[in-house]
C-alpha cells in the first residue's frame, strides 16, 4: 500500500495544492526534482501563467510539438525561450518571415574548396529545441519544410536523409489568423502540434509585477538549464508508463465519440488525436506526481490538445472554441 501516502498528500485540503512527491514511480529519482526546478524557474519569468506553463511541460514530456498562439506582446516568445533554456537542451531560433526559404530552415550543401566536395551546412532545424517564431508569417513552402521535419524527425537534403537530434521539439509561436500578413496553417499541419496554448492577457497582479520588475531579457540570460537531454528522455519514458485504467479509457472514448457527433464540430477528433490526448494526460498526471491518469487530467489537457483540431460549426466570437470545449466536457458524464 505504498500508494496511500502519495494519494493522501495529493488530496490534502486547500485550493491549488500541488504535491511533488512521486513515491509511486520507481525510477523517478533526481529528474523529477530537476523538473520541478525547471517549472519554478519558468514561472519566475512568465508571471501568472502557471497553468499554461504546466501544459507546455506536459506537451514536452508527452514528446509533442508545441504551438503558442496569441496576439503580439503577451509573452509567447518569452515563454518559448524560457522553456528552451530551462530544459537545458540545445536550441535554435528561426524568425519566420514571408521571404524565408526552406533552405533557411533545413540547411544547404555548399562547395568546399579545401576538400573539393560538397559539404552540408546544417540549418537551424538541427537542434533539440527549435523556436519557430511567428510561423504563420512564412509562406506555405517554408512552413512545410519545417512541418515535414516535425513529423519525420529527419530531413532530406540533396537525396541524403539526416536524422535530427534526440529529443527534438518544435516550439512555434503564431499570431491569430485574423491578423494581417499571416498564412494560416492548414488543418493537416496544425495536427502535427500536440498542443496549442493560448496565453491570454496577464491578470492585474502579474501585470503589476511585470511593470515593477527588471527587464525580462536580463532575467532570461541568467536562466540555467535545469534538465538535460537524458533527463527529458527518462521523463518521457516514465510518462509512457503511467497507468490508464479501463474506466479512464471508457471516458476518453466517450469524450471523443461526443466530438464526432454531428452538430457541434466540423469534424471530430481523429484516432491520432485521441492517442495524443491520452499521452498528454499521462504527462499531466506525471507532473501532478501520480502514477495513473484521472478524468481530471483528460479534462485539463483537452483544451490544449483539441482546441486547434476541433472547429466549432457555429463559431462566433473570440472564445467560441474554448467555450465549446468546456461545454463538451460538461456534457459527457464520467462513466
Amino acid at each position: 500500500m505504498a500508494d496511500e501516502v502519495s494519494l493522501t498528500g495529493q488530496l490534502a485540503p486547500g485550493p491549488g495544492h500541488r504535491s511533488r512527491s512521486r513515491a509511486d514511480t520507481p525510477e523517478s529519482g533526481g529528474s523529477a526534482a530537476r523538473l520541478s526546478h525547471a517549472l519554478a524557474q519558468i514561472n519566475d519569468i512568465v508571471l501568472g501563467k502557471e497553468r499554461q506553463v504546466k501544459l507546455c511541460l506536459a506537451c514536452i514530456l508527452a514528446g509533442g510539438h508545441l504551438l503558442i498562439e496569441d496576439v503580439p506582446g503577451v509573452g509567447k516568445t518569452t515563454l518559448a525561450q524560457a522553456l528552451a533554456r530551462s530544459l537545458g537542451l540545445s536550441f535554435q531560433r528561426i524568425q519566420f518571415t514571408s521571404d524565408l526559404l526552406p533552405a533557411d530552415v533545413v540547411g544547404v550543401s555548399i562547395f568546399d574548396q579545401l576538400s573539393g566536395g560538397f559539404r552540408f551546412r546544417p540549418g537551424p532545424v538541427f537542434a533539440q529545441i527549435l523556436l519557430a517564431d511567428e510561423i504563420n508569417r512564412a509562406t506555405p513552402k517554408a512552413q512545410s519544410a519545417l512541418l515535414e521535419a516535425m513529423e519525420e524527425r529527419q530531413v532530406t537534403v540533396d537525396g541524403e536523409t539526416r536524422a535530427l537530434p534526440e529529443p527534438f521539439f518544435v516550439i512555434a509561436t503564431q499570431n491569430p489568423a485574423t491578423q494581417a500578413g499571416t498564412f494560416a496553417l492548414p488543418e493537416s499541419q496544425l495536427d502535427r502540434f500536440l498542443m496549442r496554448i493560448q496565453l491570454g492577457y496577464p491578470d492585474a497582479r502579474a501585470e503589476r509585477a511585470l511593470l515593477r520588475g527588471e527587464d525580462r531579457r536580463d532575467a532570461m540570460r541568467r536562466l540555467h538549464g535545469r534538465l538535460s537531454a537524458a533527463d527529458i528522455l527518462a521523463l518521457q519514458r516514465q510518462v509512457r508508463e503511467i497507468h490508464a485504467s479501463e474506466a479512464l479509457l471508457d471516458y476518453v472514448q466517450a469524450l471523443v465519440a461526443r466530438t464526432r457527433r454531428p452538430g457541434r464540430f466540423v469534424a471530430g477528433l481523429s484516432p491520432r488525436s485521441t492517442v495524443n490526448l491520452l499521452q498528454a494526460a499521462r504527462a499531466w498526471a506525471h507532473l501532478d506526481g501520480r502514477g495513473f491518469v484521472l478524468p481530471e487530467d483528460i479534462q485539463n489537457v483537452l483544451p490544449g490538445v483539441a482546441g486547434h483540431r476541433l472547429q466549432p460549426i457555429d463559431a462566433t466570437g473570440e472564445r467560441a472554441q474554448e467555450e465549446s470545449i468546456s461545454a463538451l466536457i460538461a456534457e459527457v458524464p464520467l462513466p
Binding site: 500500500m1 505504498a2 500508494d3 496511500e4 494519494l7 493522501t8 495529493q10 488530496l11 490534502a12 485540503p13 486547500g14 485550493p15 495544492h17 497507468h243 485504467s245 474506466a247 479512464l248 502514477g291 495513473f292 491518469v293 484521472l294 478524468p295 481530471e296 479534462q299 466536457i329 460538461a330 456534457e331 459527457v332 458524464p333 464520467l334 462513466p335
Partner: protein, 660 residues
C-alpha cells in the same frame, strides 16, 4: 446551511412568482384575508431568500398548517365545498412556499402549483384563461427543471427548452386522455357558474334603465352561422320575451299564456344555427319569426322559442325563420283586449295624446304614421345616459326630457298606441349583431339588446314597428356590420393583402368560438360520435377505459424507452455503486457532484466548501480512485463499501457546528 445555499435562488423567485401569478386571479372569488396571508407568505419567502434569513422552524410551520386547516374547517365545514377546497389548497401551497429547505420541498411546492392551475378551471374555462395557464404551466415546469439542475450550470434558455420538451412530450398523452377519458354528461369541469349566480341577459320584465346595463356589457349573448347570406340589417330582430302588461312604469310578460297565434308564411325564409351562451332562462332567441321549434324546444304563443329546462350550458340549435309573414290575422278578442289595457291613473298626458290622435286620424294606420312622424320631427334624442324618470315615466319622457333609448321609445310608443285604441305589445330581444369576417359568423352581444313594439292592425295582424329606428336610424343600420354590404367588400379590396376588417377582436372571438366548439363542448355524445366514426359503436365506459389503456400504454412505454436509452449505463460493479452512494449522501447535504466532475476535483471542491468533511471525503475518494483508476489501491472494494457506509456527512457537519 440556509435554503439559499441548496436551492437555486433564481428558481426560488421563479416559483414564488408563478405562485403569485396563480393566486392573484383568484382575488375576486376568495376571501381577502386569504389573499393577504398567502401573498405575505410569498413576500416573506422572497425576502428570506434575498437576505438569507434562517428558514422558519418546522414546529412553527406545523402549527401554522394545523391552524390553517382548522380555519378552513371552521369556515367551510368538515367537508369543504368547492370554495373551501380551493382555499385549503391555496393556503397549503402558500405554506409550502415558506418551507423551501431542500430540492424535494421545492418540487412539492411546484407540484402544488400544478394543482392550483386546475382550480382556475373550476371557475372559468375561456380560451384566454387556458392560454394563460398553459404559460404558467410551462413556467412551473421550467422552475422544476431549474431546481433539478443542482449544479446551476444550465443557462435559462436551456432550462426553458427542456421545460418545453417535457411539457410537449405530455401533449400527445393529454390529447389521448382528452379524447378517450370517459365523460359524464355535461360540460367539462361541470357547471362553471355558481348555482344562483345571476346571469346577464334579458329578463321577463322591463323598466326604465334595464337595458342600459346590458347596453354597456360586451358579453356574448349568442353566435349565429347562417346557411346563406341575404338577411338585411333592418331584418335582424332576434325575438325574445314579449311583454304585455304595463303598470305605469314596468312592462311584464305576465303569467297568462295566450292561445297560439296563426302564422301565414311568405316566400322568403332563412336557415341558421345558433350557439346560445347560458343565460339561466328558458327562452331561445331566433330571427323574427321562427318557422318551427328545433328539437327539445317548443314554439310558444308569442312566437317565442322555449327550451324544456333553463339554459345553463352552451346550447346549439338549428332554426328556420320566416322573413315575410303575417301573424295573428285572426287574433281573438280577449287577446286584443289585453293588448289595449293601460293602468287607469298613470301617464295622463300620454293617454290624452293617444285619445286625441285617435279622433284626429281615424284608424290604426293613421295613428301609426302620425306618432312615427312625431318621433322623427320633434327633438327626441337617442342616448344611453337618459335623465332619471319618476312615477309617470312615459309622460315625463314624452313631454319633458325627450332623451332615452330603445326601451323608452318602445314603452312610450306602445302606451300611445294603446291609448289610441291600437293593440300594441312590446317585444324584447336583440337587434343586429357583429359579423365576424374571420370565422364567417354573426356575434350578438348583450350590447345589442333591444326592445321594439308590435301593433295589431286588422288587415296586417301583428306588425313590427321600431320607434327607435325613427329617432336614431343609425342604431338599427349600424347595429351590425354585414359582410354582404358593398362598401365592406370594396374596403377589403382597397387595402390589399391584409384586409382591414380583420381586427384583433374578431380573431379573438373566433378563437373563443373554436375553443368552445372543440374543447369545452366535447361532450359524452360527441365522444360517442367520434368513436362511431372510427368504428366503435358501443362505447360504454369500461370499453372506453380499455381503449384508453391500450392507447396510453404504448405512449408511456415509448417515453420510458426513450428515457432508458438516455440513461447513463447501469452501474455495473460494487466500486461504482459505493461511490454513487457516497455522492448521493453528499448531495443530501447540498454538495452534488456534477456529472462530469472528476473525483479529485469533487473532493477538492468539498474541502473548500465543507472543510469539516474533507478527511472522510479524501479517504473515500482515495479508496475509490485507487480501485477505479490506479493499478494498486489502498483498500479493497469491501473496504470502500464499509467506508461509505460509515460516512455520515450530516452528523459530521452538525458536530462541527456548521449550519446547514
Amino acid at each position: 446551511m440556509s435554503s439559499a445555499a441548496t436551492l437555486r435562488t433564481g428558481a426560488v423567485y421563479s416559483l414564488l412568482g408563478a405562485m403569485a401569478a396563480l393566486i392573484v386571479p383568484h382575488t375576486p372569488r376568495l376571501p381577502d384575508w386569504l389573499m393577504l396571508t398567502v401573498l405575505a407568505f410569498l413576500l416573506w419567502q422572497s425576502l428570506a431568500t434575498a437576505l438569507r434569513w434562517k428558514p422558519l422552524s418546522r414546529w412553527l410551520l406545523a402549527g401554522m398548517s394545523v391552524a390553517a386547516t382548522a380555519a378552513v374547517v371552521i369556515s367551510f365545514g368538515p367537508v369543504p365545498d368547492r370554495e373551501g377546497s380551493v382555499v385549503l389548497l391555496v393556503l397549503m401551497a402558500g405554506l409550502k412556499c415558506l418551507e423551501l429547505r431542500s430540492v424535494r420541498d421545492a418540487h412539492v411546492a411546484t407540484l402544488l402549483g400544478h394543482f392550483l392551475i386546475v382550480t382556475h378551471f373550476l371557475y372559468s374555462q375561456t380560451a384566454l384563461l387556458a392560454a394563460f395557464l398553459a404559460l404558467i404551466l410551462l413556467w412551473l415546469v421550467a422552475t422544476g427543471v431549474a431546481f433539478q439542475d443542482r449544479n446551476r450550470t444550465l443557462p435559462p434558455v436551456r432550462i426553458l427548452r427542456t421545460a418545453a420538451v417535457i411539457a410537449g412530450s405530455a401533449l400527445p398523452l393529454a390529447a389521448l386522455l382528452f379524447l378517450l377519458f370517459p365523460r359524464v354528461q355535461g360540460p367539462l369541469f361541470g357547471d362553471a357558474a355558481t348555482p344562483g349566480r345571476a346571469t346577464t341577459g334579458l329578463g321577463d320584465a322591463m323598466s326604465p334603465g334595464d337595458i342600459v346595463d346590458l347596453g354597456l356589457s360586451d358579453e356574448v349573448a349568442f353566435r349565429v352561422d347562417f346557411d346563406a347570406v341575404g338577411v338585411g340589417a333592418h331584418e335582424m330582430y332576434w325575438r325574445g320575451p314579449v311583454l304585455w302588461d304595463f303598470d305605469g312604469r314596468t312592462w311584464r310578460a305576465g303569467r297568462r299564456a295566450n292561445p297560439p297565434a296563426t302564422v301565414r308564411a311568405g316566400r322568403r325564409e332563412t336557415g341558421y344555427r345558433v350557439t346560445l351562451e347560458p343565460h339561466g332562462r328558458r327562452w331561445m332567441f331566433a330571427l323574427d319569426v321562427p318557422a318551427a321549434a328545433p328539437a327539445g324546444a317548443v314554439l310558444g304563443a308569442d312566437l317565442l322559442l322555449r327550451a324544456q329546462h333553463p339554459i345553463r350550458t352552451r346550447t346549439r340549435y338549428v332554426v328556420r325563420s320566416l322573413l315575410d309573414y303575417r301573424v295573428g290575422l285572426e287574433e281573438s278578442e280577449h287577446v286584443l283586449r289585453r293588448a289595449l289595457r293601460l293602468p287607469p291613473d298613470a301617464n295622463p298626458r300620454t293617454v290624452a295624446l293617444g285619445t286625441l290622435l285617435r279622433t284626429r286620424s281615424g284608424d290604426g294606420h293613421g295613428v301609426l304614421a302620425e306618432v312615427l312622424s312625431m318621433f322623427r320631427q320633434q327633438p327626441f334624442h337617442y342616448t344611453l345616459a337618459p335623465p332619471a324618470l319618476g312615477r309617470d315615466s312615459v309622460d315625463e319622457f314624452l313631454f319633458d326630457t325627450r332623451r332615452g333609448f330603445c326601451e323608452h321609445y318602445a314603452s312610450a310608443f306602445a302606451v300611445i298606441m294603446r291609448a289610441a285604441g291600437v293593440p300594441a305589445r312590446i317585444v324584447t330581444g336583440y337587434q343586429g349583431g357583429e359579423y365576424n369576417n374571420v370565422g364567417n359568423y354573426l356575434v350578438v352581444r348583450q350590447s345589442h339588446a333591444h326592445a321594439w313594439v308590435e301593433v295589431w292592425l286588422p288587415d296586417q295582424g301583428w306588425r313590427r314597428v321600431d320607434p327607435t329606428a325613427a329617432v336614431a336610424p343609425g342604431r338599427v343600420e349600424t347595429g351590425s356590420a354585414l359582410p354582404w354590404r358593398d362598401q365592406d367588400a370594396s374596403r377589403a379590396r382597397d387595402t390589399g393583402g391584409w384586409p382591414s376588417w380583420i381586427d384583433a377582436r374578431q380573431v379573438l372571438d373566433h378563437l373563443t368560438r373554436s375553443w368552445n366548439d372543440w374543447v369545452l363542448d366535447y361532450s359524452a355524445e360527441r365522444q360517442r360520435g367520434l368513436l362511431r366514426y372510427v368504428g366503435l359503436s358501443d362505447a360504454g365506459w369500461p370499453r372506453l377505459a380499455a381503449l384508453l389503456a391500450a392507447a396510453v400504454a404504448p405512449a408511456v412505454a415509448a417515453l420510458a424507452a426513450l428515457r432508458l436509452r438516455h440513461r447513463p449505463a447501469l452501474r455495473a460493479d460494487r466500486v461504482d455503486r459505493a461511490y454513487a452512494r457516497f455522492c448521493s449522501k453528499l448531495e443530501r447535504v447540498g454538495c452534488a457532484r456534477r456529472p462530469h466532475e472528476g473525483p479529485y476535483d469533487f473532493a477538492r471542491r468539498i474541502a473548500m466548501t465543507r472543510p469539516a468533511l474533507s478527511v472522510p471525503v479524501d479517504q473515500i475518494t482515495l479508496a475509490y480512485v485507487g480501485l477505479r483508476y490506479a493499478h494498486a489501491a489502498p483498500v479493497s472494494a469491501a473496504g470502500l463499501e464499509a467506508l461509505v457506509r460509515a460516512f455520515a456527512p450530516r452528523r459530521v457537519l452538525r458536530q462541527s457546528g456548521a449550519r446547514y
